[in-house]
């Protein structure tokens, strides 16, 4: 472009592992008072949430969580889906640049990979407190695998995904871009297989009409990509705001490109959900009951205000008026979309379970529509995971100096 130096490019690269630790530590220690304050607040929230979680584990989830025999999966599973899909989306969108070499997507790569690690760790933290016996996982997932189980594949593939992604991030830090790219490709492959299976966890439950069907894995991938774009715009914008640094042209162009594919994925999702609803009404009675509960029943506010309004219409509208140029408007869109997507995961999960098993027999023992309300313990765990992401984001911005991209 010009002879002027690109301000996001750092020089004097760290090249060894120990140097990374040292420079990171020094960076962390050189923070401002506001930085420590914010990180401290987030850490405090994580700590309080951890106390709730450990307490729940100690007392027993039956006494502390809102889930029941009939609705065994609640806000923790939907929160897990929210976090891992955000992670997956960050991985998909950032790979366009650093794996497939599309230049305009390169500046977002490092931050995306870092946040992808952070969000999946948050997801694992949430599901850790949903599993009744999390410590058995490592043993029996290895010793007694069930190849027909999507949960098994998902867990195993996400494990590999996290491992390779951590390596990829370290390689990016070390400036070994060629190797990082190889691992980036591996992460993408494992990632796509993993969230395909996450979709299939639901799509293959032939006892659950609302979820059952082949499109579920595809829906999850489109949904993940939309979440990923949201996260990139949200966190990159914030990253520059908190350091009060001016965004350079390359990064601006990058976010504009992300905004465009975000709009595309939002459209795909809207299309998908519209047809899911329309085809659902032509289906069995159980599915129709679930759809009614979602659209005009207890979850109507969630659906129309949060999913449709916050999740789709407002972000879409803001993106359009921003012309994919006004970053303030795009950031506002991402805030709405984040909230909307959280509700989208929640409704998807709960509405799939609300129809009573024996509704068609007119039994009086169960209502036709079951209800689930998350308990304070469950909500606190979700808040804790969000606080963990915020804390890790702040620390990441500080110690990795705004995830600047090097020349390569």
């Amino acid at each position: 472009m010009s002879e002027k130096k690109n301000p996001v490019v750092t020089e004097g690269e760290v090249t060894t592992f120990s140097q990374i630790w040292l420079t990171s530590l020094l960076e962390f220690l050189s923070g401002t008072r506001t930085f420590y304050f914010l990180v401290g607040i987030a850490a405090l929230v994580v700590l309080i949430a951890a106390m709730f979680a450990v307490n729940a584990m100690y007392i027993g989830y039956r006494h502390t969580y809102g889930v029941t025999r009939e609705i065994p999966w609640g806000i923790l599973i939907s929160g897990y889906i929210f976090f891992v899909l955000t992670s997956s989306g960050l991985c998909i969108v950032s790979s366009i640049g650093h794996v497939f070499g599309v230049k305009s997507f390169m500046p977002i790569a490092k931050r995306s990979v870092y946040l992808s690690v952070v969000t999946i760790v948050a997801g694992f933290m949430v599901i850790f407190f949903d599993l009744e016996n999390p410590f058995r996982l490592l043993i029996w997932n290895t010793l007694s695998p069930n190849p027909t189980s999507n949960i098994w594949w998902m867990g195993t593939l996400y494990g590999a995904y996290l491992f390779f992604m951590t390596l990829e991030f370290l390689l990016l830090l070390l400036g070994r871009h060629r190797y990082a790219r190889v691992f980036g490709l591996l992460v993408l492959i494992f990632g796509i297989a993993a969230y395909g299976n996450l979709g299939a966890v639901f799509g293959m439950l032939y006892g659950r009409e609302f979820w059952y069907g082949p499109y579920m894995p595809i829906y999850f991938i489109a949904s993940a990509a939309a979440s990923g774009c949201t996260a990139i715009i949200f966190f990159t914008y914030l990253g520059y705001k908190i350091t009060a640094e001016k965004m350079d042209r390359a990064m601006e162009l990058s976010l504009q490109a992300v905004g465009k594919i975000w709009a595309l994925f939002l459209t795909v999702l809207m299309f998908f959900i519209t047809w899911k609803i329309i085809t659902g009404f032509a289906g069995g009675e159980g599915k129709v009951l679930a759809l009614k509960e979602w659209l005009i029943g207890k979850y109507a506010l969630n659906f129309w205000l949060f999913e449709v309004g916050f999740g789709f219409l407002i972000p879409f509208f803001l993106l359009l008026i921003s012309g994919f140029k006004n970053l303030n408007q795009m950031f506002a869109a991402s805030v709405f979309a984040f909230i909307g997507f959280f509700f989208m995961r929640f409704d998807f999960l709960v509405v799939g379970q609300v129809v009573s098993h024996y509704f068609e027999f007119k039994v009086t023992d169960f209502p036709v529509i079951l209800s689930y309300n998350p308990s304070i313990y469950e909500i606190m765990i979700i808040i804790g995971a969000v606080a963990f992401c915020i804390m890790a984001f702040l620390v990441g911005e500080k110690v990795f100096k705004g995830h600047k991209t090097e020349i390569h």
Binding site: R62, L131, E132, R136, P145, N150, F361, V363
Partner: protein, 252 residues
């Protein structure tokens, strides 16, 4: 030479079906239904999917049951009076806590019914031939017993992910805190059958003869006779899920 046969054929008179004994009529119908796989109102599909494949004689059919003994339960549903002795026997025998159940009696209520307004419907694990829970379990903590077809639990492998509970179309599973695992009906395998007893606690406790338990692959057993007949309807719950249950319902 053929002319004689032709004349004989043309001169044959319709004997009518009045002279044919009922037994023969039924046998004839059964052949047709076995061939098309529609037995007992379509529910034989639930017994074993191989039925649809063949022109097997009924004896061959018995041999093709996937399990031996192929444990099954038939409910004579109209006999149930909701005394809940079965539930009590189950709790005691299998140490079921008060917050859970392995079997229960549902109350069906229909104001618009012309006869009785209420009917009781006992339920338990259907020990499906195509169990959604077994497919979904990540660690094979729940599995289909290769010999008996009973859907059992290896409690020590259970992660408590509750996927099986979500997968089960029959609400047959619950999380047992004391066992630190999901618990469910195992046709009293651990508490009784494996110790030489031949019948489940609930079937034994039932004073009205609602619960008939036995080996579906044994032509001499009562469950076999109840399922392999045409006079009374036999059905399974939620056949549309394709889980192929081994718990049948009929009327006495």
């Amino acid at each position: 030479m053929f002319k004689g046969i032709k004349d004989w054929l043309l001169n044959l008179k319709n004997e009518g079906v009045e002279q044919v004994p009922d037994e023969t009529k039924r046998e004839f119908l059964k052949i047709g239904l076995i061939i098309t796989g529609v037995f007992a109102g379509g529910s034989l599909f639930s017994v074993v999917s191989k039925v649809a494949e063949g022109l097997e004689s009924s004896e061959e059919l018995h041999k093709s049951y996937p399990y031996k003994p192929h444990y099954s339960m038939v409910f004579k549903i109209d006999r149930c009076i909701d005394c809940e002795l079965c539930m009590e026997a189950c709790r005691k025998t299998n140490h079921v806590p008060d917050y859970g159940w392995r079997t229960m009696i549902l109350r069906r209520y229909d104001e618009s019914a012309l006869d009785q307004k209420i009917m009781f419907m006992p339920i338990l694990c259907n020990h499906c031939n195509n169990p959604p829970c077994v497919r979904a379990c990540p660690t094979k903590a729940t599995y289909k017993d290769k010999k008996t077809g009973i859907v059992r639990m290896a409690y020590y492998k259970c992660l408590g992910c509750k996927t099986c509970m979500v997968a089960c179309p029959y609400n047959a599973r619950y999380f047992n805190e004391e066992k630190h695992a999901v618990d469910k009906c195992d046709f009293c395998w651990e508490s009784r059958l494996s110790k030489g007893m031949t019948i489940t606690a609930c079937a034994e406790a039932c004073p009205a003869g609602v619960r008939i338990f036995g080996d579906l692959s044994d032509p001499g057993s009562e469950v076999y006779k109840l399922v392999h007949q045409l006079a009374k309807p036999v059905w399974v719950l939620k056949p549309e899920t394709g889980a192929k249950p081994n718990v049948f319902y009929t009327i006495s």
